[in-house]
């Protein structure tokens, strides 16, 4: 086979970042912690209301829908992107854990007549569906799961779309907790989300260019033990070493966890902050 002699570089410009994690309610606060300007104080994740949604859906929006919509919108606004035309890649280990628990509990009971709303909210692509309804975007929308490797899997597909389709793509990686008894089997401590607006072209808003390639190296840890604990406990936060480079505006190579033995090496060419 000769046609694969020259693989295309998996590369994109980062135009905006959205972020929510325990103790870090948005990208601005995360950035100052990752720069070392503020100490990291773990605290329960704070979720803003899902302002994108109509009032009835907003009131009922689950934690996983809120984290996906809020981080996606934060990244898109920073980039000045038109959400009504934006291609999206959603990636999460699981769907709404609380809804899943309620369904399983009821299906184990005598009364199995589950609510139709609970059922349609149980799909892995619920957050993506609400994003589409809210933004009116009819662009392609991908929804991935790769357990703890979900950030890396989402990044690979999003970079592929940027390179091949030569258009901006919004990656939203996010996770939410299960209540007991599933929590003991899948102990995700809280909700968190990382969104990156990836573009094929550099703009005045570009933060950095990233280029991904496979490696067998171990992932780079976070220096701060509390942040390292976050990186390891929530799949979306496997992106933290990349975000630390973006926050500090420095260039270099960082290795992220993906699917051992395949890990992701990212070359980061940061631009000085404007």
């Amino acid at each position: 086979m000769s046609s694969c002699a020259q693989p295309m570089a998996l590369t994109a410009w980062i135009e905006g970042v959205g972020f929510i994690a325990p103790g870090l309610p948005d990208w601005v606060s995360a950035r100052s912690v990752l720069r070392g300007e503020q100490p990291f104080t773990p605290a329960p994740s704070v979720l803003p209301p899902a302002d994108l949604l109509p009032s009835a859906e907003r009131r009922r929006a689950s934690r996983i829908v809120k984290v996906a919509l809020a981080t996606g919108l934060e990244a898109a606004l920073q980039a000045g992107a038109d959400v009504s035309t934006l291609a999206t890649v959603f990636s999460a280990s699981g769907a709404d854990g609380h809804n899943c628990h309620a369904l399983c509990e009821q299906l184990a009971s005598e009364d199995r007549q589950i609510s139709p709303t609970r059922f349609h909210n149980s799909v892995h692509n619920a957050a993506a569906g609400y994003w589409g309804i809210a933004t009116r975007s009819m662009a392609p929308c991908q929804v991935i799961s790769a357990f703890d490797a979900s950030f890396g899997a989402g990044l690979l597909d999003a970079l592929g779309q940027v390179v091949l389709d030569q258009q901006p793509t919004l990656l939203i990686a996010y996770d939410s907790e299960y209540p007991e008894p599933i929590f003991s089997k899948r102990p995700l401590p809280d909700v968190a989300g990382v969104a990156l607006l990836l573009s094929p072209t550099r703009s005045a808003r570009s933060l950095a260019r990233i280029t991904a390639s496979p490696t067998a190296r171990s992932a780079d840890p976070m220096v701060d033990p509390a942040l390292e604990a976050q990186r390891l406990s929530i799949p979306a936060l496997r992106a933290l070493p990349l975000l630390a480079y973006l926050a500090r505006g420095v260039s270099g190579e960082v290795c992220l966890d993906y699917l051992p033995p395949m890990q992701l090496s990212l070359m980061i060419d940061s631009l000085p902050p404007c």
Partner: protein, 399 residues
């Protein structure tokens, strides 16, 4: 897109295990649907259950993956020589250069549903022998497949409800085009479970009789299960008569969580994108395998989109009257049905459908018939899911 070779493929549904059983049933216009007697479910509906799923034993080192969904995954992989073709590809390209892209809607959630009946009466804890990661999680079938072949490269599950295993073809095609992999195992597996049987019943979307796609009296779906796989490679050396993936098109409805856009606008965008991707015109398509779930809303919306793009020029059918709606496996099952139709020269009919909806102006096939040799070189397959996720694929025969 650059055409890709579909170098091996297989499907297992209620029609039977493998290509020959599937082809025989489709040619005879036979349905595999039966009245629902799954597990402890008491619903007035019909299902497409795969025989002998629970008799499948996973390889011992992978026993922690054991659940109905991975048993069907294993059964499917070991059908039609598919696993051997994959091992040959791994031999050609290496364990890090063969990717895994599998679609599912509910993966092994049945395992969790059953575990909830065995919670510790004092603590509420789930039993020790319940493994979330390798059964319930949406990635479990992809991770099982990766471990089954001892692969070391890229893998992901795509879960966009009923378009999941169509979208895997598009995702894998991207990575092949980029050169990050040299071959891809694509496919979909979904198995019967309480969540989908009771869930679709709660939405009043299940029929009390075998589903009747595009019938004037259609009144809902029959849920099925299935496993279908394809091996994608670059088409440089495709032999004449091989099946090629020629185009993929994806779109979103941006309309409603569980109802399609009433005019089929998202469906139309996906079909147009697939035609663009394949550099084909509507008149080139010789057969359309419709999503055709047999709900009043789906078939009306999809029918409008197909009529708008293709007039009455292209023979179409939904094969869900034969297989049931295999949900996250439907895209891959119906991709394989398109491959069978193209290689064996027949156009599948629609068991269960008797009196067509006069409001839908398309050339719908009630009975299976031979393809005109000149007309059926390209087939299009539609898959649409909850959340408004649409995907169309175009397959062709290598000249």
């Amino acid at each position: 897109m650059t055409p890709l070779l579909v170098s091996s493929y297989t499907a297992t549904t209620c029609l039977g295990r493998g290509l020959a059983a599937t082809s025989d049933a489709l040619r005879a216009n036979r349905s595999g649907l039966t009245p629902c007697n799954f597990e402890t479910v008491k619903l007035d509906t019909w299902i497409g259950e795969v025989a002998d799923v629970d008799a499948t034993v996973l390889p011992a080192p992978l026993s922690h993956y054991d659940c109905r969904n991975n048993r069907l995954t294993c059964l499917g992989l070991e059908t039609d020589g598919f696993a051997e073709r994959v091992r040959e590809a791994i031999g050609r390209y290496g364990a890090s250069r063969v990717g895994v892209f599998l679609g599912t809607s509910t993966a092994g959630i049945l395992q969790t549903e059953l575990a909830y009946r065995r919670r510790d009466p004092a603590t509420g804890a789930l039993p020790e022998d319940f493994f979330y990661r390798t059964t319930h999680n949406s990635f479990s079938l992809a991770e099982f497949t990766r471990d089954y072949f001892a692969l070391e490269g890229m893998a992901m599950a795509i879960s966009t409800a009923c378009s999941s295993s169509a979208k895997v073809f598009a995702a894998a095609a991207r990575q092949l085009a980029l050169g990050t992999i040299d071959a891809a195992i694509v496919g979909g597996v979904d198995t019967l479970c309480l969540t989908t049987l009771h869930g679709f019943a709660s939405l009043q979307l299940t029929s009390g009789q075998p589903c009747r796609p595009y019938d004037a009296a259609r009144d809902g779906i029959s849920i099925g299960e299935g496993a279908a796989f394809a091996l994608l490679e670059r088409a440089d050396s495709a032999a004449s008569g091989s099946i090629l993936l020629l185009g993929t098109g994806e779109s979103s409805d941006a309309y409603h969580m569980s109802s399609p856009h009433p005019e089929g606008l998202g469906a139309r965008l996906a079909m147009q994108a697939a035609l663009r991707s394949a550099a084909l015109a509507p008149g080139d398509i010789g057969y359309i395998n419709l999503h055709g779930t047999a709900t009043p809303a789906n078939d009306a919306a999809e029918g409008k989109a197909v009529a708008a793009l293709f007039d009455r020029q292209v023979p179409c059918s939904s094969t869900k009257g034969a297989t049931g709606h295999t949900l996250g496996a439907a895209g891959a099952v119906e991709a394989v049905i398109c491959a069978l139709a193209l290689t064996e020269g027949f156009l599948p009919g629609s068991p269960g459908t008797t009196s067509l909806d006069p409001a839908i102006d398309i050339d719908y096939l009630l009975q299976t018939r031979p393809a005109q040799p000149t007309s059926a070189r390209y087939a299009l397959s539609n898959s649409f899911g909850f959340g408004g996720s649409n995907c169309s694929l175009i397959f062709g025969v290598a000249p």
